[in-house]
Symmetry: C2
Subunit: 329 residues, 2 copies
């Protein structure tokens, strides 16, 4: 009937976006313009079976919500996940221990079979870069790099407007660029990776170490009983004049900056977008490392802070929104 046809036309074309991180499993309905219409969050289950079951349930519920309550037409599902991903096959090849039982996993088939929708998958770093390309600082920039400093460090590289995946989908594993022959141990099994120096987890590790030696808290700081020591405490301590905390943050910033200089000397992007919770903290140290250690030809690079609130979700959605409008799958 006619009223249904008109309703259909007035629906908002949208994507289901899934963000699968170390802690939470999140699903969102994202409109064509990048508006997050609704978000759903659950703790990420520890086993493969529970995780897949929850993904399917959350996606089905969200798709239902979209159709019944929100008048959103879901064009497909975009999944952002930790780990190395083969985006052509929709398979997670390998994850570190942050997400257990999450290697050699075909995520596309069960989601596509259950929801009867096309499904795209890529890793969180690449999704963050896609989000910048469609909705952020990367719009219209031919070559840029996104570096996300959160619990870990991830990233994505866009060249000639397209993600660089590499020959075994291991490109842009920017957290595992090494800046020291020795250096702190990394979750990947190597050492001296920028993730082991400058990630939220690395700063938390250093904060805990200082606290264990009773060297963290200075005047103006206190910890409640049972309060977790975090990276934020290290940053507060440094601001309040704790010279050991300051030295650690300086090393972290120098390490991240050197890692980014290495990226400049390898792919020479025109823009670096810093994203994640520690982005604004690291902007100055990164710019300083570039001034001190980059080749003169690479000095002109811009280092900006992402303005996107949900890079992983927006990037996951952009895979759906870009491809369905191009009508290729």
């Amino acid at each position: 009937c006619i009223s249904q046809d008109i309703d259909h036309i007035l629906e908002t074309q949208s994507a289901l976006a899934v963000d699968l991180g170390g802690t939470n499993l999140r699903v969102a309905i994202v409109s064509m313009k990048g508006k997050i219409v609704k978000k759903y969050s659950q703790p990420n289950p520890k086993t493969y079976e529970d995780r897949i079951a929850l993904i399917l349930k959350m996606c089905s519920d969200a798709a239902c919500d979209a159709a019944v309550n929100l008048n959103c037409r879901i064009l497909g599902v975009g999944i952002s996940t930790g780990g190395r991903v083969n985006p052509h096959k929709g398979v997670i090849l390998h994850s570190t221990k942050l997400i257990q039982e999450w290697s050699s996993v075909d995520i596309r088939t069960p989601v596509s079979d259950t929801l009867h929708l096309p499904v795209w998958v890529d890793n969180d770093g690449n999704c963050a870069a896609l989000a910048e390309r469609k909705f952020g600082h990367g719009r219209g920039v031919e070559n840029f790099v996104t570096v996300i400093t959160g619990t870990g460090i991830g990233g994505g590289i866009v060249q000639h407007g397209e993600l660089v995946h590499g020959s075994t989908f291991c490109a842009a594993e920017l957290g595992h660029i090494m800046v020291s022959l020795e250096g702190p141990e990394c979750s990947c099994g190597s050492r001296g990776c920028i993730e082991a120096y400058a990630s939220g987890a690395a700063l938390q590790r250093e904060a805990k170490r200082l606290h264990d030696e009773d060297l963290l808290l200075v005047e103006g700081m206190s910890l409640k009983k049972d309060e977790q020591v975090t990276a934020a405490h290290l940053i507060s301590a440094a601001h309040l004049g704790n010279s050991k905390a300051e030295a650690m943050l300086q090393t972290a910033g120098a390490a991240l900056g050197m890692g980014i200089v290495n990226i400049l000397h390898t792919v020479n992007p025109g823009l670096v977008v810093l994203s994640g919770i520690l982005a604004s903290f690291y902007q100055n140290p990164v710019q300083q490392a570039i001034r001190q250690r980059a080749l003169s030809s690479a000095q002109g690079i811009h280092v900006v802070i992402s303005e996107l609130e949900e890079p992983a979700l927006l990037g996951a959605a952009s895979m759906v929104l870009d491809y369905t409008t191009r009508r290729t799958y």
Copy 2:
């Protein structure tokens, strides 16, 4: 007349290739199949004027030789030079002190005006990668990286069959990937670059330092009066059981290997071609560094030794041979 026409048909289609290094200025006539028909070499002059004059003279002489004596038809001139190059404009943007007075130099215009031939220019590392793509291990390989370990360290990155130049022509400056927050000083002004650890010049510096402390020569080695101490002496000393020399080479190999792992984690090529005089020495240390420090997804990479005798000249020639057969300029 008819005999002239037939002569013309039987001419070998060729390129003039120029290799402009820190020490020598070389010109070669290179056939379509990658055969070096004839080579000419002179010391590279120290000033801009003398250098340009010599390039023009050597190219003119070679073109004359090609036409009169060698029955080669020269299709164009390809120039490989140290430094950062804008290949679209044929301009050398910046060189380190190895080649003096060689920044902001338009090399294309004078060569093209004098020889009345199209001219292509790129840096030596990129030319080496082009040589592998056309004549070497890179044939048919979509994504590969060439790392040249000679006096310095250079390189080139091929992605989707094309060189990566970057937004300011500073991509693939692989010698200046840093693997240490501190580390030895580099000619670029930074420190801890793989060039400062593992280049021929770096090994020579370490050999001299050991020799100055009377710690280089061991049983079975001798130095003639006035003989220069070189990287080769360090390698010999290590082979003959000099543990200090051995430790230095181990550090050099580890540093180069880590730099290459950083490349794998950034662009994830399917193949690494080691080129230059130290290539075969470094193959094992690089493979070991990959086994120890690369992500599992990057472990499958092949590391091979270039079989090309003249990568810079062949790469310079390939710019001419590829473009003139495609008839684009």
